[in-house]
């Protein structure tokens, strides 16, 4: 354990490829999880809001199940569970699937709330011009709901990025595990954990800024 700038810079430079690779794995796994969760979550949110009741019930059960489960358990379950059924998924993709499955529930639930908060008059106006049900949802309700769902969606994205640290337990060498491996060689515990923490903060801060930009971009959607 040291906090010596010269030694740290030397060690960091030596480990630069391992760390960059870790950051890359963190960013790509976050990205794939976010994309999957957003698409699946939008779909499931519409199901939660409008679908035929048995489907709605199923989606409801899924959301409640996922919200009650620790993400770490879900990750272990996905990886070892799939292996038990002789489905060999690389740890990276098992992790992405688990994170996406978790975040899908959050996106879906947030979208349902957003859909409900769109004023009833919007649906009536859409009916009045003769739009059929799918068109009413797609062209009138969803755009307004998406605007409302943006702030919680950014939160979910941040949770996913932080959640990728848990993939280290199934052996995915993301930024945290990469840092640990470096520390195992040079024992500079504080230095490299601190650096990892800073990198996570910078990544998440950038995402939050991007979210704020999107919110401003859609700020014309108001009543």
């Amino acid at each position: 354990m040291t906090l010596e700038p010269g030694t740290f810079l030397f060690e960091a430079w030596t480990a630069r490829f391992a760390l960059m690779n870790g950051l890359w794995v963190t960013m790509t796994s976050s990205f794939f999880s976010i994309v999957l969760a957003t698409l699946a979550g939008l779909l499931m949110g519409v199901v939660l809001s409008y679908a035929w009741w048995p489907l709605r019930l199923l989606a409801r059960a899924y959301v409640d199940f996922m919200r009650g489960m620790p993400v770490l358990v879900l990750i272990l379950f996905t990886y070892y569970g799939l292996a038990m059924f002789r489905i060999n998924v690389p740890p990276y993709w098992a992790g992405v699937i688990a994170l996406a499955a978790f975040a899908t529930a959050h996106v879906a639930e947030n979208l349902r709330g957003a859909v409900q908060s769109v004023p009833a008059g919007q649906m009536e106006a859409a009916k009045a011009i003769g739009l059929n049900f799918p068109k009413r949802i797609w062209y009138v309700i969803v755009p307004q709901a998406v605007r409302r769902v943006l702030p919680p969606w950014v939160n979910t994205c941040l949770e996913i990025v932080k959640g990728t640290t848990l993939l280290s337990v199934i052996g995915v060498v993301e930024l945290l595990l990469a840092s640990q491996q470096v520390i195992a060689r040079n024992y500079m515990v504080i230095d490299f954990y601190l650096m990892a923490a800073m990198i996570y903060i910078v990544v998440n801060f950038s995402i939050a800024q991007l979210g704020a930009l999107l919110e401003r971009r859609f700020s014309y959607i108001r009543y």
């Binding site: 008059g121 919007q122 106006a125 009916k127 011009i129 003769g130 739009l131 049900f133 755009p143 959607i221």
Partner: protein, 262 residues
């Protein structure tokens, strides 16, 4: 004005739970006519209007548009509820303007008018834009076509809403207390647009508390009271020779407010 009956209501009934809101409404709207529904709050005017556009389903009686029953078809002597697609097609033939405008906030004025043209009538973007431009010009908002609803005043929003409804070339246009949510100085611009439409022969069914407008523009006035048509007739009959006691009371309150102008 032709004599052809466009909208025909016979014995229309509607209940919300145990409360019967419409207790058998009979009403005809002829092509090119402006028919106004007046009456106190809770008399069933708005509910009737919403039944015509299938925003509410009536429980009994018939509403016929061009002779076709609204909301159901008769097969083997029994009523069958129309499919969602058929209901949407019927709604496309009837325009509606709401008290609270209900413009789509994520679309510009032009986008609001274009949505139905492209997604319901299947017109191309360019043609829809031309039609939208034409109608926005007609309601005096050609220069605001690129504005979003929040950038428009209440009166302007309501005029866009009227353009959105008229652009669909509906057989019938419904107005549900369209000036009630407006500041007094904005009411005239909206009534002006409605009057122009009426003069051009648009068939309109209007729920309104603007008695001067109702008297001036309507061909036929229906006074509703507690879910029934209490008296119906020409504006002169309703306003100058009211027979129904409740109508006299109702008009009395307006006379008290506005003097003998009404």
């Amino acid at each position: 004005m032709s004599d052809q009956v466009l909208l025909q209501a016979r014995g229309v009934r509607k209940s919300f739970g145990t409360v019967e809101v419409l207790k058998g409404i009979d009403l005809d709207v002829r092509q090119g006519q402006v028919v106004s529904l007046i009456g106190a709050s809770g008399s069933g005017k708005t509910t009737f209007l919403r039944c015509v556009n299938l925003l509410e389903e009536h429980d009994g009686g018939d509403i016929l548009l061009d002779g076709d029953p609204i909301g159901y078809r008769v097969a083997d002597g029994r009523r069958k509820r129309l499919s969602e697609t058929k209901v949407s097609a019927q709604r496309a033939r009837i325009g509606m303007v709401f008290q609270s405008f209900n413009l789509f906030p994520h679309l510009t004025a032009e986008g609001n008018v274009m949505l139905g043209l492209t997604k319901v009538l299947g017109k191309g973007k360019a043609e829809a834009r031309d039609i939208a431009g034409h109608w926005l010009d007609r309601v005096g908002l050609g220069a605001r076509r690129g504005h979003y609803p929040y950038q428009l005043s209440g009166g302007q929003q309501q005029r866009v809403a009227i353009a959105r409804a008229v652009a669909m070339q509906p057989r019938l246009l419904l107005f549900d207390e369209v000036t009630s949510a407006l500041d007094p100085e904005l009411v005239a611009e909206v009534l002006g647009v409605m009057q122009k439409l009426a003069e051009e022969g648009m068939t309109m069914l209007v729920v309104s508390h603007e008695m001067l407008f109702v008297r001036e523009v309507s061909h036929h006035v229906v006074f509703m009271d507690q879910g029934r048509v209490a008296q119906a007739g020409s504006p002169a009959e309703i306003f100058d020779r009211p027979e129904n006691e409740r109508l006299k009371g109702f008009l009395g309150r307006f006379h008290a407010m506005f003097g003998q102008a009404v």
